[in-house]
Structure formats: C-alpha cells, structure tokens
C-alpha cells in the first residue's frame, strides 16, 4: 500500500471524486432547507416575523407566524416551537395547535418553527436523522429533524466567545447561534440575534399575555419534564403544575434563574408584559447517552443505552424503554391547555378559550398523527 504513487493524474482523478462527493452531499444538504408544509386550521392568518421587525424581510430567518383572532375580546397567547429543531415535541405541539385550534375567545398566535434556518440543517457529529415521518389519515406526514443552532452558513464565522449584548455574560462562541441565548436580541447583529429581537417586538406589539417556548431536554439533564416560569408567571405555573400532578402527568416547576441571561423564560418576562413559560420534555434522540441514532429513535425514544442508564439511576425522567413523540407532544399540548384554561384566573380580561385540542389520552391512544391533516408534500413524491 505504501508504494501507491501519486501523480498529477491521480490528483485529477481525486478532484473529480471530490466534485462528485460535493455534488451528491450538497443535494442532500440543500434539500433540507425546503420548509415542512403545514395545514393551518380555519381562521388562522399567516404572517412573517418581518411583520414586526421589517429588517428580517426576505432573510432566511423570516419565520412564519399564524394568528387566529376569535373576534371575542380576551387575552392573547403565543405558542412557539422550533427554538431548537432537534427537539421535535416542541414544534410538533405547536403544529397540533396550528392544525386543530378553534379559538372562541381572545387570540392565539402560533410560530411553529421559530429558528427557521436551524430547521434546515443538522449539527455535525450528532448523526441526527434529516427527517421523520408520522402516519396521518390518508397518508404520511414528513417533518425535518434539525439542529440546535442557526445554520452556520448564515452567520459564519462564529466568534471565539459569545458575549450577550445586554449583560456582558460570556458563553462559548457556538452559543451565539443558539436562539435561546439571544434574547432580548440585537437589531443589527447576527441572524439569531435579529430573530430574537423580532420575537420580542412581536410579544410587545401584540400585547401577548402568556407566552410559551417549547423545548425538549436530554433525559439525563436535571431540568426535564419541567416547567420553567418567570417570577411573574410563577403563581399560574404553580396552579398548572398541581393540576398536571392530579392528572397524572407531572411536570416539575422550576424558577427562571435571574443570573443566567439570554433565555426566553428570563428575557421575555423582563422585556414584555407576557407571562413567560418554557417547558421541557425528555427526548432520548438528543441526549449524550443515546445509542443508535435514527428517525425511529426520534419518534419512539426506544433506546437500550438509555435503558441501561436508567437502571444506573442517571436519568431525571422515568424511563421504561421508550419515550414516544406522542407522549412528549401530548405533555406539551395538555400543559398549555391547562395554562390557557387558568389564565383568566390570574390576569383579568386575559381569558383565552380554545376548542378542538385533543386530550392527553386521545393523543396517547391514537398518536398525534391522527390529529394532523394530510398535506401535499412535493419533497417526497412517491414516498
């Protein structure tokens, strides 16, 4: 082997090989930037984030926002998924509301894929699947499984150190492309900071009363199956946490730390009138202990490495062999419904009534796919 000689000819041949590999992999990478089609329920109107922050117009971060106004005076609730597109139950819960909700009092704003460019790529060395699919009535729905970070091609290079503009807090440079470290945002900085800024504008201009940022966390992370509440939202969150406990879907309540800046539950509450809530469910497909990584893991959460880790007492969720996307999404959906039901009790005139949302048991029994509509999806013709 050592004797293999290299010549200009072999170099030229390698150039062709490099070109071929680049071409094939580029097709796969670029295809992921096509958005996931959704079927909003009747009454939703589509906007873009640039509606509230025009500088984003035409940029790849100009995420879709849907508003349904019941016409009956009441409060305004904001549901945001897709801060971290490698945490699928967050955006799937937002999509369930988008496709099922019938608002009968107040207004509902849904932003299913908050960090739009993060949806369109995967983080290196995570071996994440690019897509996962769900069975729906009369077909299959495909969703992308993205990355925790904004696509680096839109804010390259990352700085060595990320300094949070408002506090001077230092984080590793990669955190600059983490939307949930970027609030309250900076209008003339990188894309992530601009998106964060746009979201704060939305919360303020739409006078949002209650705002959700939906996440997932690794099962070995201490804040999982949890509600993190801003101090102003604490009483409402305590009421909901007790209700959830009664319903047998416990979500631990955690206060939003004051000294850790840039996170939604902190900065939304500090920079708008919204009661800010962040929720986490347990997602084995993003955890560090996970075994074989594929689309099935994202959907079922079945993993033998986690089973062993659970036996070792390393996990912060009860894990008996799986943690389905149905369960994780149902947790978010049900918790949000309880929040909305009780919002009027703590905020006068803040009532928001939403019908058509499936119950926890329904979602567990029939799967969340049963509550999504079939759509035209030209990304997967024939599949």
């Amino acid at each position: 082997m050592r004797s293999s000689r290299g010549t200009a000819l072999t170099a030229a041949a390698l150039c062709v090989a490099v070109a071929l590999i680049c071409f094939v992999s580029a097709r796969s990478f670029l295809a992921m930037r096509l958005p996931d089609p959704v079927a909003p329920a009747q009454g939703f109107e589509r906007y873009n984030l640039s509606h509230w922050f025009p500088a984003l117009k035409g940029s790849p971060g100009d995420s879709d926002v849907y508003i349904q106004d019941s016409g009956v005076p009441g409060g305004t609730v904001f549901i945001m998924g897709g801060t971290h597109p490698n945490e699928p139950s967050g955006y799937m819960a937002a999509v369930v509301y988008l496709e099922r909700a019938k608002v009968t009092k107040g207004r509902l704003i849904v932003m299913p894929f908050a960090n739009a460019t993060a949806m369109g790529h995967n983080s290196p060395q995570e071996a994440s699947p690019q897509y996962f699919s769900l069975d729906v009535d009369g077909g299959t729905r495909w969703f992308r499984y993205g990355s925790r970070a904004t696509n680096p091609v839109y804010q390259w290079p990352a700085p060595d150190i990320y300094i949070h503009a408002q506090s001077g807090q230092k984080l590793d440079g990669g955190s600059k492309s983490n939307l949930n470290r970027a609030y309250p945002g900076v209008p003339d900085d990188s894309l992530t900071q601009q998106v964060a800024y746009g979201i704060i504008q939305l919360l303020n201009k739409e006078k949002v009363d209650l705002a959700f940022d939906l996440h997932e966390a690794s099962p070995e992370y201490p804040v999982v199956n949890a509600i993190v509440a801003h101090n102003r939202a604490m009483e409402l969150a305590a009421m909901v946490s007790m209700e959830l406990e009664m319903a047998g879907i416990p979500m631990r309540l955690e206060p939003s730390p004051v000294n850790f800046r840039g996170l939604s539950h902190r900065e939304w509450g500090d920079h708008s009138d919204a009661l800010a809530i962040l929720m986490e469910t347990g997602n084995p497909s993003q955890g560090r202990l996970r075994g074989k990584t594929d689309a099935a893991l994202a959907v079922t959460g079945k993993d033998k490495a986690y089973l062993k880790a659970a036996a070792l007492g390393r996990l912060f969720i009860p894990y008996e062999g799986d943690q389905t996307l149905d369960l994780r999404t149902a947790r978010h959906v049900t918790s949000m419904k309880m929040f909305m039901d009780m919002l009027g009790d703590v905020k006068e005139g803040g009532d928001v009534e939403v019908e058509g949302i499936p119950s926890f048991d329904d979602m567990m029994e029939r799967g969340i796919g049963a509550f999504l509509s079939p759509v035209e999806d030209d990304r997967f013709d024939g599949k």
Partner: protein, 428 residues
Amino acid sequence: MEWFWPEGFYTLLMIGVFAFAAFVWDMPIAVAMAMAAITGAIAAGEGVPLRHQVEGEFGYVDTILIIATAMVFMKVIQRTGLLESIAAWVIRKFRGYPVLLSLGIMFIIMVPGMITGSSTAAVLTTGALVAPVMMELGVPMLQTAAAISMGALFGMIAPPISIPAMIIGAGVDIPYVGFGMPLLICTVPLAVICSLWLIYPYVRKPRDEASLEAQLAKMSRVPMSLRLFLTVIVLVVLLGGERTLPLYWPSLGMPLSFLLASASGLLSGVRWNPIETVTEAIDEALPVMGILMGVGMFIQIMTLTGVRGFVVVSALALPSWTLYLGIAISMPLFGAVSSFGSASVLGVPFLMALLGQNEIVVASALSLVASLGDLMPPTALAGIFAAQVVGEKNYFKVLRHCMLPALLTVCWGIAVILMAKPIAKLIF
C-alpha cells in the same frame, strides 16, 4: 452480552480497522480513520452514508482554518528570521537565572494557548519560538518537545479561554463565568512542577560558553528591529484586543488575525516568497487537518451506529469507586479522537454523575483531564506538533517523556474533583 452486542462489536471493529490500516498498511492516519468509519457504517447496515461522512467533517471546519493560518504565520516568522533572533535574545538575557528562565519559558509556551484556547496554537507559535532556545540551552530534544506539549495543554486549559471547560459547562447550562480561579488552580501548580522537572535540570548546568556564543551569534544574524517584530506585534494587538476589549474590538477571529499578521511580514524588510512559504505551511499542516477530518467522520459514525452511547454508558456504568478511575482512563483515551470531543462526549455525563460537588470546579478539573487527549496517539495534536517543532520524527519517543507529567496531571485533576467543595469555599 446483550449490552455488548452489537455496539461493542462495532467498537472493536472500528478500532481494529483503524489500527490495521494505520500500522499494517501504513496509511496516513486521516485515511485510516475514514476507513474505520466507513467499515463501521457498513457493518451496522448503514451502507456508505455519504451525508454523515461529510457532515462529520464539518465539526472541525473552523479548526482546520485556524491550523492552516497559524501554520502560515509560523512559517512567515521563520522565513523573516525573527524566531531565531528572539531565541538568541532570550538566552542572553536570562542565562544567569535558571529557575526564572525555566518558569518563564513555560509561561511563554502557555500564553497562546491561554488566549486562543487551542493547544495547537501554543505549540505552533511560542512553542516553536522557544524550542531552539531550549535546545541551545542544553535541554535534550525529547524533553524540549515534552515540555512544549505539556505547556501547550496547560495553556489550553488555563484562563481566560478554556474551550473544553466551555464545552462541558454548555452541556449542563453553566455559563462560562467564574472559571478563572478554578482553572488556575488546575493548571498553575502543574506548570510549575513540569518546568522545574523538564527544563530546569538542564538549563542549570554550565555549558561551553564559547560554543554557545558562536551559536547565538549565528542565530541573531538578522538584527532585531521594530519592523522585524511587526508580525508578532500585529498578532498580539489583534488577538489581545479581541480578548481584552471584546465589546469595542471587532471580532476578527483567529484565522483572519493570523493572516493579517502574516501579511504584515511582507513589510518586515526581509525578502521571502509568499507563495512558496504558504505552500510549505499548508503542506506541513495537511496531515493534522486531514486527521481532524477523519476524526469528524469517525465521531459521526460512532454516534450513528450507537458506538458512542455504548462507550459513554459503559463508562458511566463503572461502580462508584471506579468512577474516578473511569474519568482518569476514559477521558484521555477518548481524547485520542479529540480532546474537545472527549470534553463533550464524556465530560458532560461525568459532570452529571458528580453533581452536588461544585460544578464549576469539577468542570474545570474534567477539562484538565480531557486536555490529555491532545497527547494521545493517533491524533495527539499537541504532541505530534511539538515533535515536529523540535525535528523529532517519532512521536512515541516524545510521548515517553510526557508519561509522568501526564500521570501527575490526571492525579491532580482527580484530586481537584475530590476537593471541589473545600476549593469552592475558599475561592467563591
């Protein structure tokens, strides 16, 4: 057995193919890693997952730009004659104070690592700068390389910038704040001991002054001038400005700073050929750049096939009394793939296993242990470059001299973890 199969088998297969390709077929390490990754994927029924292979490489795309541009910078200061002149000047100045000289050399080696968070940067910049000085002072070649490797590791972990500590912190949502003192406690004692161990015994001995002086005169044939120093001054201003005045200084990043500093070498007054210099620099950097690409593929396929989870959970499954043994062994070993990879893949779960201690102190100590990965073949970023800098072809000879300091580093890392609570009480 149920736990072992099939991921344990894939693990052995990937390591086996790598070792076979690297040592029997004598392939470049980069190619051996790529082959191991492809074999692992095929065995696990994934075919040749081109998307994953290429995606894995992107984990280090910024790192290879830093390495390439840092190497260009090094070649420029070599070509202009600056390196040798400085070396001669330092020897003349501090010849009479061996302890100070030893500590000073160690500190100089550490500085670039401290400000860039990269051991490679330390080896390639000031490491290369002091290597001829040390050898001229009588430090044997291998000890010189060992001292540079160790200094580079300690520099990488020492504050203000420690990327492994940042990576571990980010994994459990601890902001990179308050790490300064713990990282100093982790690194300073070791740096002092290593300099007194590897450098001092040799610089203390008297030498043939005439021969030394002749050598020094030869080394300093290019007269020291401000123009000659321009490259280093530009680099220090660019990197230093970004670190000390982060709010006002534009964030240029290391690759751009290295290139601008190199370009300023054109104004040094000494004639050198830019095209040939850069080609030579890239040619020397290519093996390491390639290794990082291979490592990227390897980690991605490990993750894809479940090998990563198998390795991590197996390490966590160690009985509690062997947890520390697990840290001491698995983190440096895994660091053979990459010390940053070790910090991320193993550092975070180990920190979680140790929650309840002071997290910042524990994360600092874990990052210290992870840094040893940069000595571990096949990648051995710090070690291989240090060997290259002193002109030693066989890295394993250097590694032998790093063994004891590395062992000491592991012991100190574990000791800091065990004493995390009292240390935290003392400093916070």
